[in-house]
Symmetry: C2
């Protein structure tokens, strides 16, 4: 039998009625002729309850015990889903991480997959079972301890199973009905995409489109897992949602597929720093150690040098990070300065910026995308503070108050409303 992987997130299994609704979707796929592996999250709210108990018990908790407690939410859903399927006449069996076993590294709270042996689940399929319900977000270490995979872990579990079992597809059921050209809450012209390439989805995911976690898309791309995002709250069929796939499956793609945004960014500039080999490492090493997620980095020739003709080689360094990491970033830099590792003339922090990006595989072969983007923003008098580009995306930092305007302007400029 061909194998299909279906994943249901927390809101899709929030109570018994929703579990029943999800089970009906599973049964429909069994009736279409698939052996199905279902990956489930904890009922929404349950994981937060468990996390709160852990935090209230112990401020600096042991990550092994955190994982042992927090993983129990998914186990409950897996058992209930198997029972509901049985009640519908579908032969199903639940699997906790250690039963499969889902072998992971020992990095508790952010473990990574080592292997997912097929033998036990294949044997159940061979016995005539039609569905294996697997608790997402968890695994087991070589020490026999329960591990969890970190944020978005259940999506990652689903993709890993799809790869291990050569599944025809991995369907991610969630509370939205697909991937859009931009956030529909910002632009009513946003259009659902039928297909999008891994590369584009990866840029959109990491740029703040919250549909799929970056890591699950990376894994899908590496193992060529066809990933589908669709709604668990609507009637769905084989053509619902958005398929995330290899670009070869997408016949004709537009130059730009979508406009992404990330609202709460900050920009930190260090003026007049010494321009020498190793200076970037001296700055970004301490930031990485402090857990700051540095995003865009731009190095300019120093304004001061241009203006005053400094004798030494000096430069200015600008980077962006999430607003809530600014205090941590400033402390890390101040400590490195106090330790004599770096020096600067002035530090300027701007916490009122947002990032807006256009993403599209078509950029590779089409010139002029950047020019069209900058012209469109200029026509609306949106000032660009920092620019960063990759092969298939162009991102700009702008004042936060212009963010919605910029998104709508760019959505129009690249005609994303029409397919």
């Amino acid at each position: 039998m061909p194998i299909l992987v279906m994943k249901f997130g927390g809101t899709s299994v929030a109570d018994l009625a929703r579990i029943e609704n999800a089970a009906a979707k599973v049964r429909a796929e069994v009736e279409r002729g698939y052996d199905v592996i279902v990956i489930v999250s904890a009922m929404s709210g349950k994981t937060n309850e468990l996390v709160k108990w852990v935090n209230d018990t112990s401020a600096f908790y042991d990550a092994r015990e955190y994982d042992a407690v927090v993983s129990s939410g998914e186990n409950v859903t897996a058992g209930l889903m198997a029972l509901r399927l049985q009640e519908m006449g579908v032969s199903a069996r639940s699997w906790q991480g250690w039963q499969v076993p889902i072998n992971t590294t020992s990095q508790h709270g952010s473990a990574r997959f080592v292997s997912i042996p097929r033998a036990h689940i294949d044997a159940k399929f061979a016995e005539g079972f039609k569905v294996a319900v697997v608790a997402g977000f968890q695994g087991v270490s070589t020490e026999g301890r329960i591990t969890t995979l970190g944020r978005g872990g259940s999506d990652t579990t689903a993709v890993a199973f799809a790869a291990a079992f050569d599944a025809v597809r991995c369907d991610i059921y969630t509370d939205v009905d697909g991937v859009y050209t931009t956030d529909p809450r910002i632009s009513r012209k946003a259009r659902k995409l039928d297909k999008i390439s891994y590369e584009e989805m990866l840029e959109l995911a990491s740029l703040g489109a919250k549909v799929l976690q970056t890591r699950s898309v990376e894994l899908a791309m590496r193992y060529k897992v066809r990933l589908r995002v669709l709604s668990s709250f609507e009637e769905t069929d084989e053509n619902s949602g958005t398929l995330v796939c290899d670009e070869e499956e997408i016949m004709e793609s537009k130059v730009v597929s979508g406009v992404a945004h990330s609202r709460d960014e900050a920009k930190i500039t260090l003026f007049t720093i010494e321009d020498r080999p190793g200076i970037a490492a001296a700055i970004f090493g301490p930031l990485a150690d402090a857990g700051v997620n540095v995003d865009m980095i731009v190095q300019n020739i120093s304004e001061k040098q241009l203006a005053e003709g400094h004798s030494e080689a000096v430069t200015d360094m600008t980077f962006s990070c999430p607003v809530d990491q600014v205090a941590r970033a400033k402390r890390a830099l101040d400590e490195a300065r106090a330790a004599g590792k770096i020096g600067w003339g002035e530090m300027v922090i701007d916490t009122d910026v947002s990032k807006v990006s256009v993403v599209g595989i078509g950029m590779r072969s089409h010139a002029g995308v950047a020019a069209r983007m900058f012209n469109a923003l200029a026509a609306e008098r949106v000032n660009i503070k920092v620019i960063a580009t990759s092969e298939i995306k162009i991102s700009v930092l702008i004042d936060r108050k212009y963010m919605e305007l910029a998104v709508q302007t760019l959505h129009d400029a690249f005609s994303l409303e029409s397919a």
Copy 2:
């Protein structure tokens, strides 16, 4: 290090504050020099929530999935207890059933222990860990499926660990401070016992004193595990509570140790049944198959035969069972009659009876206990409907309205108020 087993029930770990209180008791024992194995139940209410979800999902549920869901409550408590102990500076590690592993039979919902290998936990103690927190009520089958042990399972887990690890004692922390000569809610003269023998505790447990489950006392008796019952809501020390132990440890025991009661009993009499070999099996076989817990059984020569001088050999059979099993019992008997397997003249059901019992090892060597009991009841005009005896107990069925009177009368008659 000597090993101590401590067990905390659902009300003793009902919330984070109570878990902290229980953890303080564990730390006190570590400071006394023990390596401690802590067995925990689910936070009170959690198991009922999980059971309700299972029942609401599936009326005739798969017991394997029931066990997978319901066992998760204990896992959460085990992790939280380990974290709380760590927070108090006590090195602790949690263990789920499959991690130890607690090997059981495959009878899901009422599994029995096969083996509890010491290696993994002993290795942790050798590493310097002071406490192993084990999720109670669960195990793992040879098929690698999670099992649960049925009612009172966590007490049984505690006793099994005490036996496997040669523990000096197994302390059962609960919401009462020990075992009493009778129910303190019925007689204000009830007195807490310092010690009680396994045999007496077994009779009291099976007679409706709800402090300990029968199975855990049986297991303690078989493996000579010294069992202590004490309160988790009071200050406790090495002399608190009641010690359940071998009778050799009890220097001088009274003739009667306690008066037990079971309120909601029913009495079923089948008049004028054929008196032939195999008739008892023909009656009680179907009842056992229907899951009726038959308790007392009395067979008389038939009243009818005495009165009328019947030609055939006929007899009357009386038995007792819990009131809520009467409908099931009647159906099973009616079906057996319809199938021609048994016949009777009349069935009389009395659902207004209670059982009162006196229990004591001293009975073995002291005559006259029954006479003293019957005289005391007769003096209060309490009519005895059925009598049953074992080596160390005498039970009577009486009208329910006299139950409290009978308990208080017997408590006085055997001078249980004074030690």
